[in-house]
């Protein structure tokens, strides 16, 4: 078979993305139809920049999801095909059997794996980790930042000092210290995970308790239910056969996060949380002088009620914008980890690792490194544009 020309490669790639296009079209059609009834999300569709950003982000989200369902990928991301090493884009697969996709659309990497499929699979890793890691960082930052800003005093001094400690640490040094196999063997990341992942529980518990504590008949069953469910998830997340923290017996353990991924997750949450803490603390300091907070204090509301149900909802605008930006930053951090070969298993298709492998032969073969680089660029760009659009629209009221 003849190799494909670039005029043939592009339509084929676009065709492979067909499920993504359909999903995107559906999402946009629905969202634009109902945009007047969906609050800030709907207003996003009034700004061109926001729409472009949202489209880019959702493109990669759908790509990640469908890629994980094996819809878009053309080959197994880990399979090596003989004779395909460093082959240019559009090379026909040697010895293709019936049912195999006959081409390597974006060529082969230096281990003869399909670059296109690896890039798609890499999207799933990012789409899985980045939003969750950011969410956890926000939980930690909010749970600590609200009381620091609201109560001030010694607590504030201590927490701010600790946050500044983490912030003064060069990120890469921290990664090297946390993610090396020797440190993982001591179990420190597992203990850190146990501490960091407890914050969503605290957050949910305090949130519900402060709202419903006057109505014990609602509160008690609600709290028991929510905390039991979250506690179970927490324990299955933390307990892992290979680590010192094996608390749950195997049959109760819902899922096992692969060791490397958990460490990466912890490292990223740890790096992001202090910045979120500082933002939340600053916002709280500002908002606690407002009249509605004084009104709530006069009504005799408890501190946590005021923090979580008066201050936090009013700080949501800047926090949502920062959430988008921070997902982008987390994506960059994940790429950095991969770039230094930290945490992820070496054959992992995540973008950072792929760029790292591709860069070694970069001056001769461009195609293994460029697709993941451009993918990462477009996703982070999308998130930044989305944050910009959100900021513009939320400032408009």
């Amino acid at each position: 078979m003849e190799p494909l020309t670039s005029a043939e490669i592009i339509p084929r790639i676009l065709w492979q993305f067909l499920p993504v296009w359909i999903a995107l079209l559906g999402l946009f059609a629905l969202s634009i139809t109902f945009k007047r009834r969906s609050g800030l999300y709907g207003k996003l569709f009034d700004s061109t920049i926001g729409m472009i950003g949202f489209a880019l982000v959702m493109f990669w989200v759908f790509t990640g999801i469908f890629g994980a369902m094996d819809l878009i990928v053309t080959h197994d991301a880990l399979a090596q095909a003989s004779g395909m090493k460093n082959k240019v884009p559009g090379t026909p697969l040697r010895g293709a059997e019936a049912g195999d996709y006959p081409y390597y659309l974006l060529g082969g990497d230096n281990l003869a794996r399909d670059v296109f499929s690896r890039t798609i699979k890499g999207a799933w890793i990012v789409v899985q980790i980045a939003p969750f890691a950011t969410l956890f960082a926000f939980m930690v930052g909010i749970t600590l930042g609200l009381p620091a800003g609201y109560y001030g005093g010694k607590l504030d001094t201590l927490l701010t000092f600790v946050a500044n400690l983490v912030l003064a640490f060069p990120v890469i040094l921290l990664f090297y210290l946390l993610v090396t196999p020797e440190i993982v063997a001591t179990g420190i990341p597992s203990y850190m995970a146990a501490v960091l992942f407890v914050f969503p529980l605290i957050f949910a518990g305090v949130l519900l308790n402060s709202r419903y504590h006057t109505r014990p008949s609602v509160r008690t069953p609600l709290l028991i239910g929510v905390l039991a469910l979250m506690g179970w998830l927490y324990l299955s997340l933390v307990s892992d056969a290979g680590t010192p923290l094996k608390v749950l017996p195997g049959w109760l353990d819902l899922f096992d996060v692969p060791g490397g991924i958990l460490v990466v997750f912890v490292a990223v949450v740890f790096v992001n949380a202090p910045t979120v803490f500082r933002i939340v603390r600053g916002l709280t300091l500002d908002i606690k002088t407002r009249d509605y907070v004084a009104a709530a204090q006069t009504r005799g509301e408890g501190g946590w009620y005021i923090m979580l149900w008066e201050i936090l909802p009013n700080a949501r605008g800047p926090l949502i914008v920062d959430f988008c930006l921070r997902i982008g930053y987390t994506t960059i951090l994940l790429g950095t980890l991969g770039f230094f070969g930290l945490g992820m298993p070496p054959e992992s298709p995540d973008w950072g690792s792929t760029i790292n492998e591709g860069r070694k032969l970069l001056t001769i073969y461009l195609h293994p490194a460029l697709p993941p680089a451009l993918a990462l660029l477009s996703l982070v760009l999308g998130l930044n544009l989305l944050a910009d659009g959100l900021r513009e629209e939320s400032l408009r009221d």
């Binding site: 946390l178 440190i183 770039f339």
Partner: protein, 348 residues
């Protein structure tokens, strides 16, 4: 101001102590020490041999004592083994145990010995830091003026087409981490596959003899990522200043637009970016590590990667002390500079 400075310095000192202790603790964990014993001694040592190796060299003691020794506030250990040979922390070649100093830590200028480069840590760090300073200097020379120019041009007419275009550029550069822009720049300008070949894809030769061809790509790569952020801050600050009352007054008086921008707006608009530029240093340090690895420029960041990747405990400690101090000093300078530039802010 004096009390403010003193308090900041005190906090800085405390932060440095805490951070170096954390690094010390993380690098002196048992698995790291065992690995060190095996690489320094013999790969096939048994567990008891490893334990005695660590015992002889003073590693098997409480972490706080070891930290004190490393810092130079506690006297170094002296071990006389059963066969009469002496192991001591402060014992260098050509010294006897009587002439060796009692204290030898970072405070005495003894940074230790690198097991990877087989040189004194202080020598390595000073050479590598010099190379990185050269890189950073050029990054600053390229980044700061272009970022300020971008920001001022975008911010002086908010919402105009220039503003939109320049803002998109700066958003794009902030969305491009160094390892992405570096790869793209090498692919476009240095790869033999595309054929542009304007620059070199490695900067190894730039360590002795830096010229445009081998040094521009690494500089551009670091500068691009930081540039967008500074430009956006400058733009926001400029846009805010341009809506101020005194600018309107100047306009109504009939001052020409270039004059308003240059003489009235610019000075006030540049206060905020100054802080941002200083606070960019920690990020630049990150960029330096990535770019030096990518372009194989053997500076400070490259040393960090080598030390961390090869379990070179004392070198890693030295590198982290220096980088933490750099970060803290820039934070201090940014605070002081902010107060200095903006008379409306006062510190009590």
């Amino acid at each position: 101001m004096g009390i403010f400075l003193l308090r900041r310095l005190g906090v800085m000192l405390l932060t440095t102590l805490c951070l170096t202790f954390v690094v010390f603790w993380l690098t002196n964990l048992q698995p790291n020490l065992e690995k060190l014993a095996k690489t320094q001694g013999n790969m096939r040592m048994t567990d008891t041999q490893v334990a005695s190796w660590l015992e002889e060299r003073g590693y098997a003691r409480p972490i706080l004592i070891k930290y004190g020794e490393w810092l130079g506030v506690l006297p170094g250990y002296v071990n006389v083994s059963t066969d009469g040979s002496v192991q001591a922390r402060c014992l260098d070649d050509g010294m006897t145990i009587e002439t060796a100093p009692r204290y030898c830590g970072v405070l005495q200028g003894e940074w230790g010995y690198s097991t990877v480069f087989r040189e004194d840590v202080s020598d390595i760090i000073s050479i590598r830091l010099g190379l990185t300073a050269k890189l950073m200097l050029w990054v600053m020379i390229l980044m700061v003026p272009s970022a300020l120019l971008l920001g001022v041009l975008a911010g002086m007419r908010e919402g105009s087409r220039t503003d939109r275009a320049l803002s998109t550029i700066s958003i794009t550069t902030t969305a491009t981490p160094e390892y992405v822009s570096g790869v793209i720049l090498i692919a476009v300008f240095a790869s033999s596959a595309v054929g542009l070949k304007w620059f070199k894809g490695t900067a190894t030769s730039a360590m002795e003899d830096a010229n445009f061809e081998n040094f521009f790509l690494p500089i551009l790569t670091i500068a691009l990522f930081g540039m967008g952020y500074i430009a956006r801050m400058t733009r926001a600050s400029m846009a805010e200043v341009m809506t101020a009352q005194y600018i309107r007054t100047a306009r109504l008086k009939g001052v020409s637009f270039p004059n308003i921008v240059m003489k009235h707006a610019l000075r006030n608009a540049l206060i905020a970016p100054f802080t941002v530029i200083m606070l960019q240093f920690p990020w630049l340090l990150n960029g330096v590590v990535i770019v030096e690895t990518l372009f194989n420029y053997k500076g400070f960041g490259w040393t960090l990667v080598q030390a961390a990747g090869n379990n070179d405990i004392e070198l890693l400690l030295g590198v982290s002390v220096v980088s933490v101090i750099v970060v803290l000093v820039t934070q201090l300078i940014s605070d002081i500079g902010y107060v200095y530039l903006n008379p409306r802010i006062s510190v009590s």
